[in-house]
């Protein structure tokens, strides 16, 4: 065990994000929706920055979107990722309008381009965390 490769960093399940991870375990992608201005947002915020409403609910979203931007990481401070460079990190703009940080699986990093249609998939990283990733649609 002493030579174990450091584990992949896993997000802490914060109270605000607990409903998201609960849905993710069922392989359902969710985002918060403001109950007043109806805007979707991600990650969780207590207050809608568009209309300042505090009323919001987690809603299942389509899981479809497009690559809004992409950065191909060639240098990573974490050993788990350092062993996997180059890899893409993307901003996906979901059909519902929210944007989320993610990655694209199943393609070469350099093949990921802005505008590419993608659809969500889940990587069961731990029993508690199923991480949303995207695949070319």
């Amino acid at each position: 065990m002493s030579d174990a490769v450091p584990a992949r960093p896993v997000p802490a399940v914060t109270p605000e994000m607990a409903p998201f991870w609960e849905a993710a375990r069922r392989h359902e992608l969710t985002a918060q929706q403001c109950l007043d201005c109806r805007a979707f947002r991600f990650p969780a915020r207590e207050v809608c920055s568009r209309c300042l409403s505090r009323r919001a609910e987690w809603r299942r979203v389509s899981g479809r979107g497009r690559i809004f931007s992409v950065a191909v990481m060639h240098q990573a401070n974490h050993p788990w990722f350092a062993a996997r460079v180059p890899y893409p990190v993307v901003v996906v703009e979901l059909e519902e309008g929210a944007r989320m940080i993610s990655t694209v699986a199943g393609v070469e990093a350099q093949a990921v381009g802005i505008g590419m249609p993608v659809t969500v998939d889940f990587d069961d990283v731990t029993p508690d965390i199923s991480l949303p990733v995207f695949r070319p649609a």
Partner: protein, 391 residues
């Protein structure tokens, strides 16, 4: 035309720059103290002449509470009438000079030291293990870390990629900025990259950090300190060095997602700062733009109106911004090639140029300088128009 009441009311009287780069044996506080000492000496002032102290703490200050008070104690300063620790990222330096000018003009204080220091670099470990400077800047928050999305480089890369997509900015145009600034640095003995030439071919061959950024697209990391002393124009004229007058200033913080606007807050600052200064772009002799990345220079050129929006890449590549070119831009080498003291890097080079102390890199005409600061990811922005002329 009746001038703005703040125009020319205050001036930079002192500049202190400690050794920069892989300089060990001191910490952030030590560098700050030394920078202030050098700035006082440069101005011909004593510690007791200072009645204001503004601090922009770099990352190795570790969000130390009340940093400016800690620095006051370390410097043995008494009876200050103005102090604050400020953090607008790279926009802080110009903002500190703005607040100092306002306070001096309002009669709240008379002579203010504005200070930045940092010491993120550690000495090489025995046995040659590489000590990553990136670790210091490589923060990632929970969700982002799960995707290996680390650091400001990556955040900025996302925005740069959008700019390339929307406007057709090319990799070689980014490279042109790096090459031009390196040529300036080759003329600046104080630059970390002074002895290291860089061609576009070298740029293309340099390693990727995070696409679309090669290592040459990213600023250096430096240990060091830098202090600027601001005082009333009247007092500055009685001191050792030629005054550098504050003619115009403004801040602009756009909010929202920079990936949408692809714009810096320079668009908010250019009119008020130039109006206060009573100048237009054609009156600017020396341009010192905040350059955490090559990309930042391109965007900022656009947003001050040097070229139409989206054409900053072509402008930088074709406009000859290196030594002997048509625009004296980032004449010390900038943060890409001289040293990384956040917003103090462009501020200090403007002071050097306006004083005529630029040596081999001195711009032939140096009456008026434009300086920008930018923090976060195009999040905060500040502008100064400085001049060696009182009016």
């Amino acid at each position: 035309m009746a001038g703005h009441p703040l125009r020319g009311s205050a001036a930079v009287a002192g500049l202190g720059i400690t050794p920069q780069g892989k300089v060990y044996g001191s910490n952030a506080m030590g560098f700050a103290v030394e920078a202030v000492r050098l700035a006082l000496e440069d101005a011909g002032l004593e510690r007791g002449d200072l009645d204001g102290l503004l601090l922009n703490p770099g990352i190795s200050w570790n969000d130390q509470g009340m940093g400016s008070f800690q620095l006051q104690q370390a410097l043995g300063l008494r009876d200050l009438r103005l102090t604050a620790s400020m953090n607008l990222g790279g926009a802080t330096a110009c903002a500190m000079i703005q607040y100092a000018t306002q306070a001096i003009a309002a009669g709240l204080c008379h002579t203010v030291a504005c200070v930045f220091s940092d010491a993120p670099l550690k000495p090489p470990a025995p046995g040659g293990a590489r000590t990553s400077s990136g670790a210091a800047y490589g923060f990632a928050r929970g969700f982002d870390a799960a995707y290996g999305f680390f650091g400001v480089n990556a955040l900025y890369a996302m925005v740069a990629r959008r700019h390339m997509h929307v406007y057709g900015t090319t990799q070689d145009q980014l490279g042109a900025v790096a090459v031009a600034q390196r040529r300036w640095a080759n003329l600046n003995p104080g630059a970390q990259m002074h002895d290291r030439p860089l061609t576009l071919e070298d740029y293309r061959a340099s390693r990727w950090v995070v696409e679309p950024f090669h290592v040459m697209d990213c600023c250096l990391v430096s240990n060091g300190g830098l202090a600027v002393i601001v005082t009333s124009a009247e007092r500055a004229r009685a001191l050792r060095k030629p005054p550098v007058y504050v003619w115009g200033m403004a801040q602009g913080h756009l909010g929202g997602d920079p990936s949408d606007s692809l714009t810096s807050g320079a668009v908010l600052t250019r009119e008020p700062a130039f109006a206060m200064a009573g100048v237009g772009l054609r009156d600017i002799d020396v341009v010192e733009l905040y350059d955490c990345y090559t990309f930042t220079v391109i965007v900022t050129l656009e947003d001050y109106g040097f070229c139409p929006k989206g054409e900053g890449g072509a402008f930088a590549a074709e406009h000859h911004t290196g030594p002997g070119g048509r625009l004296a831009l980032n004449t010390g080498g900038g943060q890409l090639s001289s040293f990384y003291m956040w917003g103090m890097t462009p501020v200090s080079e403007a002071i050097i140029q306006l004083r005529g102390e630029g040596g081999a890199r001195q711009a032939p005409k140096h009456d008026v300088a434009l300086v920008s600061g930018n923090g976060g990811v195009l999040s905060t922005h500040s502008t100064l128009v400085l001049s060696r002329l009182p009016t």
